[in-house]
Symmetry: C2
Subunit: 212 residues, 2 copies
């Protein structure tokens, strides 16, 4: 829980923070998630976190850095969750876990559709902000690679045909993932998203020569 930048420094010098950085970042992320980057004001963030603006500025820099911190936080979370899903031995249980988690996340806490934080708050800024653009590309590449690896593992484990194309299979899942994100934010219902995910998994099953 407690994080230290270097080894075992007893305690930082001055007055300690009255808040937990990760918790604050979660609130910040949720606010940006709803209203977008440009659509969120520092006053809103202040209200959402319960912190006064000088505390936010002191801890994170400016609005953009605060957003980038929230984005990193989100992306690290996604990577961790997907790594967990992909660690499930059975391929199709893996894919089910992945899509279940996505749909849960994309539906949002109170079942209003919110979609993927990155897709709908970072992308609008990506065309004018190279750092955000790069973060998005890295995240997309990372998901690509993780999925390809997962399919390769399934081939090695003999779960699917050795003739299956991991890249084609990954493409289907990735495209489906981003589509579900968009549909979620557009207000499609959870069963509709579930059906979409299931159809993609069914397609993967056919493509990979797995037993029906």
């Amino acid at each position: 829980m407690v994080q230290k930048t270097s080894a075992a420094r007893s305690a930082p010098r001055g007055r300690p923070r009255s808040f937990d950085t990760d918790e604050v970042l979660d609130r910040v992320r949720d606010t940006f998630w709803r209203y977008g980057y440009a659509g969120t004001s520092m006053d809103q963030l202040s209200a959402a976190t319960g912190l006064h603006k000088p505390s936010l500025y002191g801890a994170f820099g400016d609005k953009r850095k605060l957003y980038l911190a929230a984005l990193d936080n989100y992306l690290a979370d996604v990577r961790a969750e997907f790594a967990e899903a992909f660690a499930v031995p059975d391929l199709f249980e893996s894919l089910a876990a992945m899509t279940e988690w996505s749909i849960d996340k994309f539906m949002g806490k109170d079942e209003t559709g919110t979609g993927c934080f990155m897709m709908h708050t970072a992308m609008p800024e990506a065309s004018e902000d190279p750092e955000i653009s790069r973060a998005v590309r890295e995240s997309m590449d990372s998901l690509d690679r993780a999925l390809v690896r997962r399919f390769e593992k399934a081939i090695e484990a003999g779960q699917i045909s050795a003739a299956a194309d991991p890249h084609a299979l990954a493409m289907v899942m990735v495209a489906n993932h981003y589509e579900i994100s968009g549909r979620a934010r557009a207000g499609y219902s959870r069963p509709e998203l579930r059906a979409l995910a299931d159809r993609a998994i069914a397609l993967v099953k056919v493509m990979s020569g797995a037993p029906a």
Copy 2:
């Protein structure tokens, strides 16, 4: 070119507009496209169109209505272009035309990646604006239907197997479409987008039992 609200009214009463509404809407759309809805100011729009703000307000209402007009404009354009692409007799030429047009659009005028106008400017607002959310859903549904119809037509024409599933095929193309949009805005290159589209079309070929 000229549009009249009712039958053949000769000319509106007062001083005529000094600008072409569609042309202005194009500039407006391009500006929103780059900076997003919330990230675009009325002053930017005024500068981009060469119109003073009162003219914009007089012609379109407020910022939101101006955006909605630009969105409608864009969506109508997309529908028209896709209808044209789908009118091409050969299925795979149709799909190639569709993806070519998408990639051209999504790369933007000066080859900076911009992605789909709707996906990256409407979606962030969709979670708080029911009208925008509805427009997005309608547009997605419309593309779904158009693609399903296109595949049904190909089955009727004997271009692909009668056992092919139009819904599954449409899903592949739609998901690919949205993915390309995201990748474009994230800065992926034109060849990368092209490769992605080609892979989807190749998958459709396999799935539809068409001759290799």
